[in-house]
């Protein structure tokens, strides 16, 4: 490691970094604007100037921009040099010549990087006394507000939007001090990553437009570390509340997962928490709202359940741990079943399983979905290939996407894929030019259009196609066959795909060659095209590629935030209790009079076709629903229990990588007994076991029980420090010390200050009292450091700028690749729970995370060999496939008005040829006939889509659940049926 001298003191620093990064790592407060750890250096703002000296004797030195200076052994630099300090202050004065100084009315005021840097440089008096230039602002859509006069021209917005995220409609216009950052004309920003501009912008040019409608100063927010509930990636977020409403979501850095960025669904999809459609109090069918309080509810539930199961002896339940019907208990007169949910936490699903018994617990997803997820769990649990984190994908040098519509189902994964493609080319360029990779401008000019390898194989064209070297649009089975062909090329002992077309064969060869010559190949697949064959083929490819010196990675995308956690529980699908598709006699109400169902945070009408869901509810004697928002399922409830959303509760989601991540309650809801479902379920269970001693369990206890009863979850309790974790005896404060108005904010209602809420479930406190330093990484409620009031303060929480958080990035991987010895490869994130805060302070040790669950045998045998038949177009029949949409498909995110505005109306997407054949013009109404239902919908012709398939938007609120993978009829409106 080179030794450098800063202000005459020696420091050992990592080679190849730039001086700015190094100074920040060492704790120097050096101001900057245009540099960003994820975007690299361009030397535009000139803010990070320092002096560099020829040698020890040189006293004159010269000014350099530290972001452009590579550290070398024996470098003499000065941060405190007067000329350097004066120059840095002067840069601010220059920037301020046109800045409007409107901090009091600016959304960023008080959490603004420009303010921080201004104070840091010491600039205080502006000598410019001429007119300022002014701009016209633009309408950029419902998500991002534009206020160009505040702009200091750091160019970060366009560098993020265009270079990093691949957007096209935001650009820089004009020149000299009229430089303008915006769109060619007013209009909605097209990139699903536009919300990141809010955090990338060092001042208030781009601000969160949804926050504006219920604005709060950022230091007045009560915040907690949370996990995004809107897809399976589990991006880490910080959610903020004031006055009982969730106000905003900002990124929470996790180097292994989302890094610095979120997608707009994740950032803006929070408004469902504040929805008037929320269920805020318990309801019993046939009773007035006023008549039901918690006591009445519990009494009713006890009556219902004792009738269905009989009171069980607490001793037996305790010893069995799983709450299966106790031996010797009175024979149950009714059957109690529980239907879990892929969007409910691991804790809640497990609490339901405990309550109803393992054999009565069903995954709240269709058999098809459960089957696909089961396949994925099998593959990852086998430990033969490494389950890729987003960081792994970003650092891959060849990526194959097999069948997954990543753009719409896992947007932030797109950023990782883009990083892979760009970094691969950048790394080559850096080597050829002998320049560091952070020298962004120089590297980009050399790289031009060169890209790392990406093969994107999807059903319909995707925006990712433009950066892929090899693109395939075909039916799911055709894509899977291509995958098996690649696997065969990589490992000839695997079966050959019969009847492969010439073009497919050549594409398979291209892809196989690229993957084979890569040092770190990644294969991505998932459930979005409903094909288990592509999931299997993806595995075969990854396993065939995997070698000791060249570890291959695999990543699967799942539908919901806890799909993985639910699938890992290994329960049967909801169809096992509802009755299989089309199978069995039509249920008649009363035919099975003893069925009582508890439905956990799941709208069955989004899972099953309407008729089947109706039939199921008809069969149920009583329906108990735990839910946060009213929907068609809650309308069927006899007992409706208000469940907490992610913002009002604690829990754990297991993301697509198999990473268990804890989210923490942000606030205590002002109205109604809203609680986490697991808390309700445990309370109900205590009624039955007669162990109601008033003691409520906390999540840690639940997770330990989970580990004991389902060993595949071993290690999950180590995802975050337990509820009794303290630093210097203090809990971690959810509110920053700058929080204002605590004693006054409710004074209009009552002059006596309400006492602070107590949190028995986590090591966080609901007030500003508590530890304000840097907590263990899973417990960071907000980023703040002295002098760093903006999100840029994340630098202070990292081991080095852009690097992992101190003590390791949060989350606990539940799947690890096994080496030949059958051991984990030791890559388990935060190694052995090393949440060291500072020497001498309390350490927190996680339970050892040695997952020992092996479903499928390792070695050669694991390869899948059943290759599907080639897809063939059928006469007058179309294969029904889901079209996932970033904005629209999410059940909860569409509650955000702005996102609802951006989601399309339902349509029927068909190929150009099929449209011709059906004589259907774009926009013409066509009838889609499936499950004996007819849906008249407008036609959307998709160029590049294969014939014989039809895609319908998945999950739109106005669309029913569909039988994906079924063969359906299409008829033009005018034709006779």
């Amino acid at each position: 490691m080179p030794t450098i001298y800063i202000d005459k003191k020696p420091y050992e620093v990592p080679a190849g970094k730039n001086l700015l990064e190094v100074c920040l790592s060492l704790g120097f407060d050096l101001p900057y604007f245009c540099w960003h750890p994820a975007l690299g250096s361009v030397g535009a703002c000139r803010q990070c100037a320092v002096k560099v000296f020829k040698d020890q004797e040189d006293t004159k030195g010269r000014l350099v921009m530290s972001c452009m200076e590579t550290v070398k052994d024996g470098l003499y630099a000065s941060v405190g040099d007067k000329a350097a300090k004066d120059f840095r202050a002067q840069i601010i004065e220059w920037l301020m010549t046109n800045h409007p100084h409107d901090c009091p009315v600016c959304d960023e005021g008080g959490s603004c990087h420009l303010q921080d840097m201004t104070v840091m440089t010491g600039h205080d008096y502006r000598r410019y006394h001429f007119k300022k230039r002014t701009y016209r602002n633009q309408y950029l859509g419902p998500l991002v507000h534009h206020e160009m006069n505040r702009c200091i021209q750091c160019y970060r917005c366009v560098r993020f939007y265009r270079d990093y995220a691949g957007g096209k409609d935001l650009d820089v216009f004009s020149a000299h001090n009229h430089v303008y950052f915006g769109r060619e004309k007013d209009g909605v920003l097209q990139s699903p990553f536009s919300g990141n501009l809010v955090e990338v912008c060092p001042t208030g040019v781009f601000t969160d437009k949804t926050l504006k409608t219920h604005y709060t100063r950022k230091w007045d927010l009560t915040t907690a570390p949370s996990v995004c509930p809107h897809c399976s990636l589990g991006c880490n977020i910080i959610a903020g509340e004031r006055y009982g409403a969730l106000r905003n979501i900002v990124n929470r850095f996790n180097g292994e997962v989302n890094g610095y960025f979120l997608c707009d669904r994740g950032r803006y999809g929070y408004e469902f928490v504040n929805s008037p459609n929320r269920i805020t109090q318990p309801l019993l069918r046939g009773r007035t709202v006023e008549a039901v309080d918690e006591g009445v509810l519990m009494e009713e539930v006890r009556n219902l359940l004792t009738r269905s199961q009989g009171v069980r002896s607490p001793g037996v339940v305790e010893s069995q741990g799983m709450g299966s019907p106790a031996v010797g208990a009175p024979a149950p007169r009714t059957r109690l079943v529980g239907i879990g949910s892929p969007r409910a936490s691991v804790e809640s699903n497990f609490a339901l399983m405990q309550l109803v018994g393992k054999e009565n617990f069903y995954q709240g997803v269709t058999e098809d979905d459960a089957y696909l997820a089961r396949r994925i769990v099998e593959v990852l649990a086998s430990g033969t290939v490494h389950s890729a984190s987003l960081k792994d994908i970003g650092s891959a040098d060849a990526v194959l996407i097999l069948g997954e519509d990543v753009w719409n189902t896992a947007p932030v994964m797109v950023l990782a894929v883009r990083q892979s493609v760009q970094n691969t080319a950048a790394a080559q360029a850096a080597q050829q030019l002998s320049l560091p990779v952070w020298n962004d401008l120089a590297i980009r000019q050399f790289v031009q259009d060169k890209k790392g390898f990406l093969a994107n194989c999807t059903v319909a064209p995707s925006p990712l196609d433009e950066i892929s070297g090899c693109t395939v649009h075909a039916a799911p089975d055709t894509i899977a066959r291509l995958g098996f062909a690649i696997a065969h090329l990589l490992r000839p002992s695997l079966p050959e795909v019969a009847g492969l077309g010439e073009e497919e064969a050549s594409k398979a060869a291209t892809i196989a060659r690229a993957l084979e010559s890569a040092k770190k190949p990644v294969v991505i697949s998932g459930v979005s095209c409903c094909s288990d064959a592509s999931i299997r083929a993806a595995y075969d490819i990854a396993a065939a590629l995997d070698k000791a010196d060249r570890p291959a990675c695999i990543a699967y995308v799942l539908p919901e935030c806890n799909s993985m956690g639910l699938a890992m529980m290994g329960a049967a699908s909801v169809e096992a209790v509802v009755g299989a598709k089309g199978g069995g006699p039509a249920a008649v109400r009363g035919s099975e009079p003893d069925l009582t169902a508890i439905i956990l945070e799941n709208d069955l009408y989004r899972v099953l076709p309407e008729a089947r869901a109706d039939a199921f509810f008809d069969r149920c004697q009583k329906v108990i629903v735990l839910e946060s928002l009213n929907n068609r399922t809650t309308a069927k409830a006899d007992v409706l229990i208000p469940a907490a959303t992610f913002a009002e509760g604690d829990g754990t989601f297991v993301n697509n990588e198999g990473r268990a991540q804890r989210f923490f309650q942000v606030f205590i809801p002002a109205i109604g007994p809203i609680r986490e479902s697991w808390k309700w379920l445990r309370k109900i269970r205590s009624l039955l076991t007669a162990a109601a001693n008033g003691h409520e369990p906390h999540p840690d206890q639940l997770l330990v029980e989970l580990e004991r009863s389902l060993p595949q979850f071993a290690g999950i309790s180590g995802a975050a420090p337990s509820q009794d974790f303290r630093i210097h005896g203090e809990a971690i404060a959810r509110e920053p010390h700058r929080y204002s108005g605590r004693t006054a904010m409710l004074a209009n209602l009552s002059v006596s200050e309400p006492g602070p809420g107590q949190d028995g479930d986590s090591p966080l406190s609901f007030t500003m009292e508590g530890y304000q330093g840097i907590p263990p990484s899973p417990l960071i409620p907000f980023f703040w450091a002295p002098g760093w009031n903006s999100v840029q303060s994340v630098n202070k929480y990292q081991q080095e700028p852009g690097g992992p958080l101190r003590g390791g990035d949060p989350g606990r991987r539940l799947f690890e690749k096994r080496t030949a010895l059958g051991e984990g490869d030791g890559k388990a994130a935060p190694g052995e729970g090393d949440w060291k805060v500072a020497p001498g302070e309390e350490d927190w040790k996680a339970a050892p995370g040695e997952g020992d669950w092996k479903v499928a045998p390792g070695g050669e045998d694991i390869f899948f060999k059943d290759i599907p038949e080639a897809f063939t177009v059928r006469q007058q029949k179309w294969l029904l496939l889901p079209d996932h949409l970033v904005f629209g498909s999410g059940e909860l995110s569409v509650y955000t008005k702005a996102l609802r505005e951006l989601s399309p109306q339902p349509y029927v997407a068909i190929s150009h040829n099929d449209a011709l054949q059906l004589a259907a013009a774009d926009g013409a109404v066509i009838r889609l006939i499936t499950d004996q239902q007819e849906y008249p919908l407008p036609v959307k012709i998709i160029e590049g889509m294969s014939d014989g398939m039809v895609m319908v938007p998945a999950g739109l609120p106005e669309m029913p659940a569909m039988s994906w993978g079924a063969w359906v009829d299409l008829k033009m409106q005018t034709q006779e049926p």
Binding site: A44, Q90, W94, T97, F130, A175, H178, Q445
Partner: protein
């Protein structure tokens, strides 16, 4: 006296030599000679030995510049040769004269330069306003293609070169070679960071040489007559050749002339430009365009070559001088220059983008009689802080050169403005209306 560059330029109003006429006068002989028997390295060496220094203003040895281009086995893929004809320096019109006067000379120079670095694609990056030049170049390039001097396998030598004309949109920045490259790629004309230098990573990330028009026009003559001959044309040591010098301002005969490198300023102004107009005295001179330091009548006997002008505290720049007379307000004169530079800042780096407009406004304020002592301190500060290294490229440091020397030589004028609270020069009346 030999005038190789301008010898075949006809008087104004007459069309330049056609390809046929140019050949009759010995045109394209250098291309024939080089392609028939001189290696690319040989051409490079001859140019290096000739002491030809870049005529765009930087004054770097041209052969040396070429030598950084990867050659032979190190080189893979396309290389580019670009003629910088984006002549936007205020007061400068020498390249226009060369292009309009004899376009084939430029094309021949480009072919030789491209051959020397083994480039296969070449561009002329022409200032948008030079419409006549654009038309001439277009025709001449076509003629050269037809005659087999451009295209595949030139004159059976196995060497191929394509040439394209690109007209800019009128940005001073494009004169900066890396900003020119960005503009040519269709991107914003912002400068690039160096290293890497264009010789390694230039246009489209490939090895590229950007040379000034005048520089390229010298090449055929060096190849024809040899380095020693070229050197002998000059009155200066180490700086070979003739130079197109220009004079503008209140002189009797403003214009441009090809003279031996190293004539004195006095000879240029008094003999060639006919001296100052009656009633006007010489107050100062920008020797090489708007971005060079003022020199005064004390410096008139200095040789107009890179080394001598530089030791007098200014730069030869493009060698086309602007004369400041004693009836023109120096504050207004400098304000006019700063207006130009502030306007032409690309907006990439803070000091240039925000500093130059401030300077411009202060100067206007002083000119209008609203200036203060504080303003002078602010101007002084800008001349120091907008220096080389503090800004991303040389635009702002260049802009500061006339300002810092004006503050040095014409301080009394600035003081008078501030004391009298008005411009002491009569022509400035419009400012107060």
């Amino acid at each position: 006296m030999e005038r190789p560059l301008t010898q075949y330029i006809r008087p104004p109003g007459q069309p330049p030599l056609t390809l046929r006429e140019y050949e009759m006068k010995g045109g394209y002989a250098a291309v024939r000679k080089a392609l028939a028997g001189i290696s690319p390295e040989g051409v490079q060496q001859a140019v290096k030995d000739s002491g030809l220094k870049g005529r765009g203003g930087a004054g770097f040895n041209t052969g040396m510049k070429w030598s950084f281009v990867p050659m032979g086995k190190d080189a893979s893929g396309t290389k580019y040769l670009i003629a910088n004809a984006d002549e936007m320096e205020p007061g400068t019109f020498k390249d226009r004269m060369l292009v309009e006067g004899n376009p084939h000379q430029l094309i021949e120079g480009m072919i030789l330069a491209a051959y020397a670095i083994q480039a296969t694609i070449s561009y002329v990056f022409l200032r948008w306003a030079y419409r006549y030049a654009a038309q001439l170049l277009k025709n001449s390039i076509q003629e050269a293609y037809s005659a087999g001097y451009l295209g595949k396998n030139i004159l059976g030598s196995g060497y191929s070169l394509d040439m394209y004309l690109h007209t800019g949109v009128g940005r001073y920045m494009c004169g900066e070679e890396t900003a020119l490259l960005n503009a040519l790629e269709g991107k914003r004309a912002t400068p690039r960071s160096k290293p890497p230098f264009p010789q390694v990573s230039g246009l489209f990330g490939k090895p590229t040489i950007v040379n000034n028009v005048e520089t390229l026009c010298c090449i055929p003559h060096i190849v024809n007559n040899g380095a020693a001959w070229f050197k002998s044309l000059s009155l200066s040591e180490d700086e070979g050749g003739t130079k197109i010098y220009g004079v503008s301002g209140k002189v009797k005969i403003p214009g441009a002339w090809e003279l031996p490198m190293g004539v004195t300023m006095r000879e240029l102004i008094e003999e060639h430009a006919g001296g100052m107009q009656d009633g006007f005295g010489l107050k100062g001179v920008l020797p090489g365009g708007a971005s060079t330091d003022f020199l005064t009548s004390d410096h008139l006997d200095i040789k107009m070559d890179f080394k001598s002008i530089s030791s007098a505290g200014s730069r030869l720049g493009t060698g086309t001088m602007v004369v400041l007379d004693d009836a023109t307000c120096p504050v207004g004169f400098v304000h006019n220059l700063q207006h130009f530079f502030a306007q032409e800042s690309c907006g990439w780096c803070t000091p240039c983008r925000e500093g130059l407009p401030w300077v411009e406004r202060i100067l206007l304020s002083i000119e209008k009689g609203n200036g203060t002592e504080e303003d002078l301190r602010l101007l002084e500060m800008h001349t120091q802080l907008l220096g080389p290294g503090n800004t991303f490229c040389a635009l702002a440091p260049g802009a500061m050169e006339p300002l810092q020397s004006a503050l040095k030589y014409f301080k009394a004028d600035f003081d008078d403005h501030i004391k009298e609270k008005k411009c002491p020069y009569s022509h400035a009346d419009h400012l107060y209306r």
